[in-house]
Symmetry: C2
Subunit: 229 residues, 2 copies
DNA sequence: CCAAAAGTGTTCGCGGTACACCCATGC
DNA sequence: GCATGGGTGTACCGCGAACACTTTTGG
């Protein structure tokens, strides 16, 4: 038997919502489409899945090829299947979201795109296909996840100040947090290690830098510890 | 243009983990395969997606056709894409999980299955394909979700006793709960309405029955209320 | 009257929250 | 010396946790 199923098949794609964080905003990486449909419109990086790769691999490949993004935290989000989400034909897309350290990425445009850019989440251009919905879903997931899993660190450099970390939570959760309470809580979890470095190039007192102790977190996880912000 | 993409395509399927709850156990609905591969093995209900239906529709249709299950809470879980998860050819499957009221369902077997049955989650037979992994993932999701969303009620009859509800949480979370604390907490949320009915046919004091006030829950949600068990 | 489960309150300790001032540094 | 953000402690309150006995009902 060569085919389990001989009916016409939908095409299968992946699309990625790559988040990045700067001083003030959560940003999303978009590419500008070179070809129809939605020619010249901004869209999520993504493309069709090949027969010899898993979905995770397809997502990573597309990020690399289309945006020059590599080595990011990547997680499957949801599979979108509305009947006419692609005007050409039936295309079902498995959406992923990724967390990138903005500073890391010399993002670049690829051959089948016009450009690549970071856009503030609350000021996105009009997007191709159902990509706006996908971004909304990704944001919801990130908001939920950041509270009980240590994913926020993926958006920060390896060494960061407590103020940076607090701002991360404030931006993602959309709430203000009390500085003293935040520090007490975060430090009491005992998952941050104080380094001997301080912030550079600021014109006020430099903040101490910390790093996240992933090993310790994994150890605590196995003992039933549950992170919660 | 008829095709966005002319390369060979993976087949796309859906598979459903249907949970049900009895006095003592969380159960999963399985069907016995009539045809190869994995002939006679137990498997999740599921099948290939048609071009004219969304994934949600495909999942509902398969549940109806293969197991006679209708009108259940259904939620997309994860898309599985390991290269040789199906020995015939490349098949990617979108997994769903469903919550059914055990009493409701006169489950029945369909023409391309040998039988249908409920199996205790911690005593499953060997399953076809990667279905065991899918079940594990579904269970994790249910455990997580039940604590901050009112999905447990989907497993209970419309009117239930507090003891039934407590047992539900104990079974899903795998922990014992204190009766007095549980009642205090649940009732303080003010989401259960006391009915004037009591349990029938027990040979001890009959428990009062409650129902979940979904309207009120939706109203509170909009006001920023967050359920938490 | 006996077995079985329903139903009910109080105490204690911890963790969340509210809140304001001094300190270090660069310019 | 001034502007800017870094860094710190305490008091209060509410919620979760621990814990045992009486009541109701059917058989």
């Amino acid at each position: 038997m060569t085919h389990a199923y001989e009916y016409p098949r939908a095409a299968l794609a992946v699309d990625c919502v790559v988040f990045g964080l700067d001083e003030a905003d959560l940003k999303v990486l978009l590419i500008q489409r070179k070809l129809p449909p939605y020619q010249h419109a901004w869209a999520l990086p993504g493309g069709f899945v090949r027969l010899d790769e898993t979905l995770d691999e397809a997502a990573q490949r597309e990020l690399r090829e289309e945006a020059g993004v590599d080595d990011v935290y990547l997680e499957q989000l949801y599979t979108f299947s509305a009947l006419s989400r692609d005007p050409r034909e039936r295309v079902i897309t498995v959406a992923y979201y990724a967390l990138a350290k903005l500073s890391d990425h010399r993002i670049r445009s690829a051959t089948d795109t016009l450009g690549v850019g970071w856009f503030a989440l609350d000021d996105l251009p009009k997007l191709a296909f159902d990509h706006e919905q996908i971004v909304i879903r990704a944001h919801e997931r990130l908001r939920g996840k950041v509270r009980y899993a240590p994913v926020g660190f993926e958006l920060l450099p390896p060494r960061f100040s407590l103020t940076q970390l607090q701002r991360l939570y404030e931006i993602i959760l959309g709430t203000e947090l009390d500085k003293r309470n935040f520090r007490k809580k975060i430090l009491s979890m005992d998952l941050l290690v104080e380094t001997d470095e301080v912030e550079q190039g600021v014109r006020h007192r430099a903040a101490r830098l910390y790093r996240f102790d992933r090993r310790k977190y994994e150890r605590l996880l196995k003992q039933g510890f549950e992170l919660s912000i």
